[in-house]
Amino acid sequence: MSSLLELRDLSVHYRTARGEATAVRSVSLELEAGQTLGLAGESGCGKSTVAMSVLRLLPRNARVEGEVLLDGEDVQGMSWGRLRAVRWAAASVVFQGAMHALNPVHRVGEQIAEPMRLHGVTGSVSALLDQVELPARAARAYPHELSGGQKQRVMIAMALACEPRLVIADEPTTALDVVVQAQVLDVLKRLVSERGIGLVMISHDLSVLASTCDRLAVMRYGQVVEEGPAREVIASPTHPHTQALAAAFPTVGDPASRHVTPSEAPSDGPVLLRASGVRVSFGATEAVAGVDLEVRAGEIVALVGQSGSGKTTLARTLLGLQRPTAGRVLFEGVGLPRSASGLRAYRRQVQLVLQDPTSALNPRHSVYEAVAEGLRIHRVPGDEAARVAEALSQAELRPPELFFPSLPHELSGGQRQRVVIAGALALGPRLLIADEPVASLDASVRGEILALLLRLRRELGLAALVITHDLGLAWTIADRVAVMYQGELVEQGTVEQVLLSPRHDYTRTLLAAVPHDQRSTRPNWTNSP
């Protein structure tokens, strides 16, 4: 009896204009039915290439060596007809980013039914939707009418359409918030145990894998650097890269991953930004329903909540991009100006850092242009080049002159986010509002960017309001936490108070949804462990 999936000495090379690049080097892995194999690593480590090679979905410029055995049959040697028959019927894929993996102009029901018709499988779309806890009427929706979590479930339902024995899930929960992530992971776990399918889970987030996988393989530069039972790999990682990955996803409550000492927080500093009774409604829906929030000088406040909780609308209101329906926003005790020029002056003081540096930067503007743009808009006097250089070196891009002519695509994700931060710093702001500042970054870079925020606070006294759905992030760098739920702040206090002894039910739900591993003993948040 052969295993469900076996990779033997798999290597994948991509032919590019600059010669051949190796994406995967001699990877050997094995998976039995009813088991879950985790594949961890940062972007570019080759984990998605491994996934794609199983169904021979790699682009034409890929050259594959070694064997991919699906139920003992080598995928590389299959005829096109045989391969098409195997695709989806024997093994299916839950693709990364359900947003793009679904065809925007077809109803999701049609897309789920398509492989069933193709492979002559009988079954019902509504039964499949039911398995992923979606109502049958969701079949009539177009992808854009569904939320991120719902789309991801549609992908899973689609993957199960032909009852395959193997499912490959490529980052199935990235871009979902913790609560939805927990639901999607539960669905996957249940399917493995109920139907005995084999699951390959690919993720950059070790804590996600820790909570779902039996075995775990950590990849770096195309190679498997560590492999073993998931518990062991996470509890006692031997390879430094595994340790780094594990450290990048802090456990709430673990003192080692808290980078702020309580004494650092200036609890008596002057209040910089104050929202009092802020309400924002769009028609009948109230996105922000009466929020009181303070950010003191030099303080880092984390605003946490699920997507749709109104935190982004609140941030826009604080920046003066959205006028509140009721209530006031005060900066240093003065209400936000209403005139365009007054708002412009205000925004010099309060700068925004966006989630995805790749889309926040104009791809055709050099680093210098990107940083200098704010200076030009605000007509900041003085030597432009000197200010740009100073901002870049504050953001730890040194020597700054070296980065002046670079275009965003020549930089790494972390460097791009530093450019965005430098653009904000160039104006000498007092407060940064950062919307998920590290969500799109690799694990090893996250730590660096967070350290940068802390250092800016220490050296420049820069306050920050960090908006995130990631409680681990709040735990790492924030002084205070405000939890937002359905437009209201349900709980507010110091990080230790809120995250270690939460009072509100919703905070407990959020904390319980965080995928946890066995590294540290977890404080008991919920009544049911």
Partner: protein, 318 residues
């Protein structure tokens, strides 16, 4: 939906009103005195000229002329042609159908050919057939229309008539008439297609190339779909969306684009009429054709917008 429709139609009406006003102003700027042109070659006295001016109403101050024109136009009266001495709308009505026939046929064919070649080119990007078809299309697009038209009629010799729409001695029954018109239409049609299909090809090609890397195509392949099904069912419907807008925008423009072709092949359509009016300048006729041509663009724009909503569920929602 109805609100959206009303908004679009309302916007279109405002644009049309603007066009009507612009039609007047634009043609007062072009050089040439219509009265002098009308009496060219005939001995006329100054009094006669003045009388003619008074009859045409061009002796009044400009603002008064404008008000007269505008009030008449809003009643649907675009005046009487100087040259033909017939109501402008009647002339336009006569010439509209030949133009619709010619441009309609050539646009439909150009769209089909362009989209088909564009899809083939994108799917086999960089292949020999892609390079040849794209290069050829670009070369034809770059050619001056009149030159290509003359070249075609030279090259085909007596095979196809190179002027007019029908022979005077064709029997009056429908079939013979239709065959005769089709026969006359070959050269102008070929010329128009050759010049415009490149746009459709290029837009379809680049829009499909953009979709080629879309993740949902990988999903479709992973499902086990054959390559041509991946293309037909998943890639093309998405890539068609931007093309639809272009096709409809162009449908409006194509009517005015027919000016050259109709002039070269003396096809009795709106284009030729515009050309004749310009040589006058036959001001009322020019204003009339201008409004009709611009109106066609505006109408097609509204259609494109509505069709887009039908085709793309994402637009429908917002």
């Amino acid at each position: 939906m109805i609100r959206h429709l009303a908004g679009k139609v309302g916007g279109a009406l405002v644009s049309l009103l603007f066009v009507v006003a612009l039609g007047f102003l634009l043609f007062r700027v072009i050089p040439g005195d219509p009265v002098v042109a009308m009496t060219r070659g005939r001995p006329v006295t100054g009094d006669q000229l003045a009388e003619l001016r008074a009859r045409l109403g061009v002796d009044k101050p400009l603002d008064e002329q404008f008000v007269d024109y505008l009030t008449a136009a809003l009643r649907g009266d675009f005046g009487t042609s100087y040259v033909y001495s017939r109501p402008v709308l009647e002339l336009i009505g006569e010439r509209l159908w030949p133009t619709v026939l010619l441009t309609g046929t050539s646009t439909v064919l150009a769209v089909v050919i362009g989209l088909w070649l564009g899809i083939r080119g994108a799917w086999r990007r960089g292949s020999r057939s892609d390079r040849v078809s794209t290069g050829l299309a670009l070369a034809q697009w770059a050619m001056p229309t009149f030159w290509l038209g003359m070249l075609l009629s030279l090259a085909t010799g007596d095979l196809f008539p190179s002027g007019g729409m029908r022979y005077p001695d064709t029997p009056p029954d429908f079939l013979s008439q239709a065959v005769d018109v089709a026969h006359h239409m070959v050269l102008p049609c070929l010329t128009m297609i050759a010049v415009v299909y490149a746009q459709y090809l290029l837009v379809m090609r680049s829009s499909l190339l953009e979709e080629m890397h879309a993740d949902y195509l990988t999903t479709a392949r992973a499902k086990g779909l054959r390559d041509d099904l991946v293309r037909r069912r998943h890639a093309v419907p998405n890539a068609l969306l931007p093309t639809v807008t272009l096709v409809f925008l162009h449908l409006g423009l194509v009517v005015s684009g027919a000016i050259t072709v109709e002039t070269v092949f003396s096809w009795p359509g709106l284009g030729l009429l515009t050309y004749e009016a310009l040589t006058g300048p036959d001001l009322p006729l020019l204003q009339g054709t201008f409004v009709v041509l611009a109106g066609a663009v505006i109408t097609m724009n509204v259609f494109a917008d509505l069709l887009y909503r039908v085709l793309d569920p994402r637009v429908r929602a917002s």
